[in-house]
């Protein structure tokens, strides 16, 4: 029982490392990356994870060591206070500062690619967040948003073609939302009255999650959608079908026999 606290504190780094070690096998890790730029984001994440992970283990081990070594019961001699070491303090201030500065510079390219190098093209679609739904507007054949030939979908299912540069305009009708595509490694806060942009290239077809990542009201949890990435042919076919559905001037009514 003597060194109970020291051992308890040792559990922090042990459990911490263990959690990360088993996470990938338990399905607690990242959702699959289906974007072209996602590799950069993930590499940055892993770089910082390893860097902070090593520092974390070293620091926690030192804490454990001191608690173990200077256990009150084993050290009856009174504590001697020192005034500290100027050199040591300078070193442990400068080292983290340099590391942080390095990270800040190292990530700049990824930031610029995601937030500043907006492709010079017409938006593929406009996403509008509202409490509590994601609405989508496609520009239609004239490639201009806000014209009578727009396709508007309110079912929260965003269809996009694979392997093409996508530019989304994102707005909000009411409050702050955040348009989050976990598989695309993309997240953008949405502010009412402002146009935000998001651009990426999807590398795989399939159905992926869209979630709201900014608490936007009581129904925040309801504000999920689906990102359907399709081949160009399938996407075009879906567009044609959706236009036809939107232009419906009548309905098919079951005949007597079908009843």
């Amino acid at each position: 029982m003597n060194r109970f606290w020291a051992l308890l504190f040792l559990l922090v780094p042990v459990m911490g490392v263990l959690t990360f070690a088993i996470a990938p096998y338990q399905g607690w890790w990242f959702p699959p990356d289906i974007s072209e730029h996602g590799r950069t984001i993930d590499d940055l994440f892993f770089f910082i994870l390893w860097l902070t992970g090593v520092v974390f283990v070293v620091t926690e081990s030192a804490l454990f060591y001191f608690m173990w070594k200077y256990d009150a019961k084993k050290n009856p001699a009174p504590v001697k206070y020192s005034h500290g070491s100027h050199t040591l303090e300078v070193v442990w201030t400068i080292l983290p500062a340099v590391t942080l500065l390095f990270i800040a510079i190292y990530q700049m390219d990824a930031w610029a690619a995601a937030k500043m190098r907006k492709p010079n093209m017409a938006p593929t679609a406009e996403i509008t967040g509202r409490q509590f739904n994601w609405d989508v507007r496609y520009p239609g054949p004239d490639k201009v948003l806000g014209t009578p030939d727009d396709l508007i979908r309110t079912d929260g299912d965003v269809h996009l073609p694979v392997g093409e540069e996508i530019l989304l305009t994102i707005t909000s009708q009411d409050v702050l939302h955040s348009f989050f595509l976990p598989n695309m490694r993309m997240k953008q806060d949405v502010v009412p009255g402002m146009d935000q942009s998001m651009w990426f290239k999807a590398t795989e077809t399939g159905e992926y999650d869209i979630v709201c990542a900014e608490l936007c009201g009581w129904g925040h949890y309801k504000m999920k959608g689906r990102l359907t990435v399709q081949t160009r042919e399938a996407f075009d076919k879906w567009l044609v079908e959706s236009y036809a559905a939107q232009d419906a001037v009548t309905i098919a009514v079951a005949t007597e026999e079908e009843n």
Binding site: T154, D157, M194, D195, K222, M223, D247, V249
Partner: protein
């Protein structure tokens, strides 16, 4: 010291028990439609009997039940009803409470916990009145209409889309909405039955002895027959709706080969109708189409609310008058008046309790046509239905025939002209204020 620690552990135990509710969760129950009960002066004994009858006919929120004659699929109801079983995909139980209850309420009365902060208020299903549908104005909605609302949500409101749910779950929720609706309609009919057919004195609150004063369909074959007929009529309305959807006449349907000029010509005719006296859209939607015309009307749900409040507000005055008259009376007349006075005072207390549960009054605001946000869907056929049959429960009137074969105000061709005009309104220059700078993010960054 020992005493204190004993006390403390007792307190902790009590707190823990209170926190978990002694291990029991409160079973949700259907509540009575009190505004209607009080308005119809149903006495407490009959309120209980109505509740019992409804429980026998429809079960409870945990164990819904439907007579075979309602045509409702009890299997589907059981998927939608009950407690939320889990949030993983594939868990098919408690869907209504997972997705709907916090707005639409356990009764489907639109009085869930988050309802009051929403604008518009969530729909109260109990009247069987639904706004966005393809059937005649007074009719129930078709299954497809409810499906469209669940699938695409209602843009411009807080109703989200549930398109991502598997089709069987959407079907179960539609069935449950119909169940709550039929249950609510039955409650209203039972209130009518009690106030018309049973003998009781609303002043004393006492029902007549014997079968004339008791709602007891289990032992009273006559009442049972009346109730069966009542439910059959309600169910018939729901089933008929599916067979009486409005299909636009082929010859007037706009073809997609129309030129821009042809559409513009049709829209111009629609504009004239919009401002003209026959269609008279301008009355409510306003000369600017911003929805700034007549705004002082209410929808049917709010009308009930307003009527209840007004009747309650008038009560103190009539109590005052009665009190004054009391001094001039004596003998039997005095006793009768005194009894009436105390009945009115009781009614005032009950009414004030009910008023506290009502939502603040809101007017029915006509839609702003310049926004391009359409609650009932944006397909041309959706617009056509809105113009043809109006919007049930709201001041928006029908311009088409009120029932199959009847004469309408406008011809279908004219309705399509209005559809073309309405669809062009958001693209008029007046509709396009520069709300935000196109590249404003660059300027901020």
């Amino acid at each position: 010291m020992i005493q204190t620690s004993k006390h403390r552990s007792l307190t902790i135990t009590l707190f823990a028990a209170a926190a978990v509710g002694c291990g029991k969760t409160e079973r949700p129950e259907f509540r009575l439609n009190m505004p209607e009960m009080v308005t119809a002066q149903i006495i407490p004994q009959h309120q209980q009997e109505i509740a019992d009858t409804l429980a026998a006919l429809f079960g409870t929120p945990d164990e819904p039940f439907a007579l075979a004659s309602t045509g409702l699929d009890v299997k589907k109801l059981r998927i939608a009803a009950g407690q939320v079983a889990g949030y993983e995909p594939g868990v098919k139980r408690g869907l209504y409470r997972q997705h709907c209850v916090h707005c639409h309420g356990i009764n489907g009365d639109g009085h869930g916990p988050t309802a009051m902060i929403l604008n518009p208020y969530p729909r109260d299903y109990r009247k069987g009145v639904f706004k966005f549908k393809s059937t005649y104005n007074p009719d129930r909605p078709a299954n497809e209409d409810l499906y469209a609302v669940l699938h695409d949500g209602i843009p411009g409101t807080s109703m989200p889309a549930f398109a991502l749910l598997p089709p069987d779950e959407i079907a179960a929720l539609i069935e449950y909405v119909k169940y709550l609706s039929i249950r609510g309609q039955t409650e209203t009919s039972l209130i009518g039955l009690v106030s018309q057919d049973l003998e009781y004195d609303p002043v004393t609150g006492v029902a007549a002895e014997g079968p004339e004063g008791k709602l007891d369909p289990a032992n009273n074959a006559d009442q049972r027959a009346v109730i069966d007929e009542m439910i059959a009529e309600i169910v018939e309305g729901w089933q008929a709706a599916n067979d009486q959807r409005i299909v636009p006449e082929q010859q007037f349907q706009p073809v997609d080969t129309r030129s821009v000029a042809q559409i513009a010509e049709s829209a111009e005719k629609g504009r004239v109708l919009f401002y003209g006296e026959r269609a008279n859209c301008v009355k409510c939607h306003g000369p600017t189409a911003l929805g700034d015309g007549q705004q002082n009307d209410f929808d049917v749900w709010m009308k009930e609310n307003v009527a209840f409040r007004e009747a309650t507000e008038k009560l103190p005055e009539s109590i005052d008058t009665l009190e004054k008259e009391l001094g001039e009376l004596d003998g039997e007349a005095y006793e009768a008046a005194e009894q009436e006075l105390s009945a009115k005072q009781n009614e005032l207390i009950v009414r004030e309790q009910v008023v506290e549960t009502l939502f603040p009054v809101r007017n029915a605001i006509p839609r702003n046509m310049r926004l391009g946000v359409y609650r009932g869907g944006r397909r041309p056929v959706d617009f056509f239905w809105r113009i043809h049959q109006g919007i049930a429960g709201t001041p928006m009137p029908a311009t088409g025939p009120a029932s199959p074969g009847a004469q309408g105000t406008l011809t279908e061709e004219e309705m399509w002209n209005i559809v073309d005009y309405i669809r062009s309104v958001p693209f008029e220059p007046a509709s396009r204020p520069q709300l935000r700078l196109v590249e404003n993010t660059e300027q901020v960054n």
